[in-house]
């Protein structure tokens, strides 16, 4: 048995995306982190000019590797367009690779994904919250106090909270504040995929397997190697997959069908659920062993109605945010509008508040938000607030709050289109949105045919 480590396996263990190319800048090898970042496998990229694989902005101005001799290069900040259609800011360092005779064999490009660094500037304790999470209420203070410790640990985390409380954002904040911040943050939502596809999405598939059409798929767990895997709505995960997840947490291994040894996966798991997990365990819908493993570190996000003092803080924040984005000069709320906003129970939590203020800022043409600018859901009588049973909205994740919001937004768009006689440019102008924003919202609401 050989005890040497193949160089590609060794490079795959490096937490930085690396690309090797020959003297004529043709790709020779990508390590796993580079494959994950670029969205191409070594087998697909090998032999291609690296400018066509990486698609850096600086490559359009001339090859940085070939243009400056054979000395070590300085790092250059630029952006790249991945094969998954994402534009990502990166820092690129190119160094020559020398052979035993001192001759240049090629180049090694080190890629640093700057998204995490940009995010990190806004991560950490602040006067009004923690990173992008805002709040000064005692309930949120408890969460913020626990965050640094949770982030520094490598144990699995379970985040619970009603729909719209910010579970996804909290997971990303934990990742950004953790030692894994330079690694990938990969999300998967259990409710969005049928069980068979969820299995493949998470664990991948081997070449020739039936489920993935015979293709080899890496799976989100492998893509999250040396980073964090966020599993949303874990309460919706089927029991057989829960068993595979327990095995992953216990052994740190993932096995494709027919594979005996399995592959090591260095992944931190953060899971979230809006369901009452204890009840699910009691009723046999969720594995107790998985619940105990996930529940080692647990964070519960409070609903907005229990966050005393945060409502006004968030209202001012979203007002500023959307005013800036929509280029309006709104100074504040009228007393009547303020009263309506403060009295509303927000069953859809922060997400609903955000939607309401986006709507209000879109409609407002003056310097003050008036009751007329608010959705009718705020001016009509509503039921007393309270946590929905099982913390679950009536029809899946997007429940009553979202439905009512969508209806309001649909009405607003249709009215604007009617007033503009179907001219989308004028409708967008009247709504205070760009054409692209109007297009995106119409697409979301299924209004393309209007």
């Amino acid at each position: 048995m050989s005890d040497t480590i193949p160089i590609p396996d060794l490079l795959d263990a490096v937490a930085t995306p690396l690309l090797f190319c020959d003297r004529s800048c043709r790709v020779v090898f990508l390590n796993r982190r580079a494959e994950s970042l670029i969205g191409l496998h070594t087998e697909q990229a090998a032999g291609l000019p690296c400018a066509l694989v990486l698609r850096h902005r600086i490559c359009a101005e001339g090859c940085p590797a070939l243009s400056s001799g054979e000395g070590p290069r300085r790092a250059v900040e630029t952006d790249m367009l991945t094969w998954t259609r994402q534009r990502i800011p990166v820092r690129v360092t190119i160094n020559p690779v020398f052979g035993p005779e001192g001759d240049t064999l090629g180049f090694c490009e080190t890629l640093e994904d700057l998204r995490s660094l940009q995010g990190r500037e806004a991560t950490g304790p602040q006067a009004q919250g923690f990173g992008p999470l805002l709040g000064r209420s005692p309930a949120m203070e408890r969460v913020f106090e626990a965050l640094p410790l949770v982030a520094q640990s490598d144990a699995p985390v379970l985040i619970t909270g009603e729909s719209g409380t910010g579970k996804d954002m909290l997971a990303e904040v934990i990742h950004q504040a953790s030692p894994r911040a330079n690694g990938p943050f990969v999300k998967v939502h259990c409710a969005a995929l049928p069980p068979a596809l969820l299995d493949i999405a998470l664990f991948g598939s081997a070449l020739g397997s039936a489920g993935a059409g015979g293709e080899e798929r890496p799976g989100k767990i492998r893509l999250a190697n040396q980073g964090t895997l966020f599993i949303g709505e874990i309460g919706d995960m089927p029991l057989p997959l829960q068993a595979k997840l327990v095995a992953l947490l216990d052994e740190g291994l993932i096995r494709l069908p027919g594979e005996i040894r399995g592959t090591m996966a260095d992944v931190r798991l953060i899971a979230a659920s809006y369901r009452d997990m204890e009840t699910m365990v009691r009723e046999g819908h969720f594995r107790e062993d998985l619940f105990f493993r996930l529940g080692a570190l647990r964070l519960a996000l409070p609903p907005l109605r229990e966050r005393q003092g945060d409502l006004r803080l968030l209202m001012d924040h979203f007002l500023r945010f959307f005013s800036q984005r929509l280029e309006k000069e709104i100074q504040g709320f009228s007393q009547a509008a303020l009263g309506l906003l403060l009295r509303y129970p927000y069953p859809g939590n922060v997400r609903e508040l955000r939607h309401i203020l986006e709507y209000a800022v879109s409609l407002c043409q003056g310097e003050e938000i008036l009751p007329d600018h608010l959705p009718s859901t705020l001016t009509e009588p509503v039921d007393a607030p309270g946590p929905p049973q099982d913390q679950r909205p009536a029809s899946g994740e997007e429940g009553r709050d979202t439905k009512s919001w969508e209806e309001a937004e649909r009405t607003m768009i249709l009215q604007a289109l009617r007033n503009a006689r179907g001219n989308r440019g004028r409708a967008a102008l009247a709504l205070g949105w760009g054409r692209t924003t109007l297009w995106r919202k119409m697409k979301t609401l299924g209004l393309q045919s209007f």
């Binding site: 193949p6 160089i7 590609p8 396996d9 490079l11 795959d12 090797f20 020959d22 003297r23 004529s24 043709r26 020779v28 090898f29 796993r32 494959e35 994950s36 032999g47 291609l48 400018a51 066509l52 698609r55 902005r57 490559c59 359009a60 367009l81 991945t82 094969w83 998954t84 259609r85 994402q86 534009r87 690779v97 052979g99 001759d103 240049t104 064999l105 090629g106 991948g204 080899e216 890496p218 799976g219 492998r222 893509l223 190697n225 040894r261 592959t263 692209t436 297009w439 697409k443 393309q448």
Partner: protein, 140 residues
Amino acid sequence: MAAANDDSPLRILVTLSGEMVSPRFDLTTAVSRVLADQDRGLFEERTTILARPSADLLCQHILNEKIDVLLCGGIEDAYYAYLSWKRIRVLDNIIGDAGEAVRGFLQGTLQAGDCLLAPLPTPLAPAFSLGRRTRRGRGA
């Protein structure tokens, strides 16, 4: 060959970088608009130099030209979704000669992600090898 409808020719736009499909939609400074129909095949080709590279301006140009099919390299998801919503068929991540991409499309053989580069000539120096991954290392 698929046409927009029976009467009007198919309007194809290719993003250019020299003779090649440009690697990035947002950095494209030249485009080729091609007209083709069932009877005549490819019958008109016109190259336009853009005022400056801009994905927004290029989208507007594509809409103004009433393009049916876009052949391009990398494109951001927002623009891909926007153009698709405008009922423009987008074949992206194409690498290779622009003319060959158009011919491949008209023959019905071109797919998104295709690499049309001919087998590469011998590099200046032999490509070094790092060997192969072990089975255990395969995956991500």
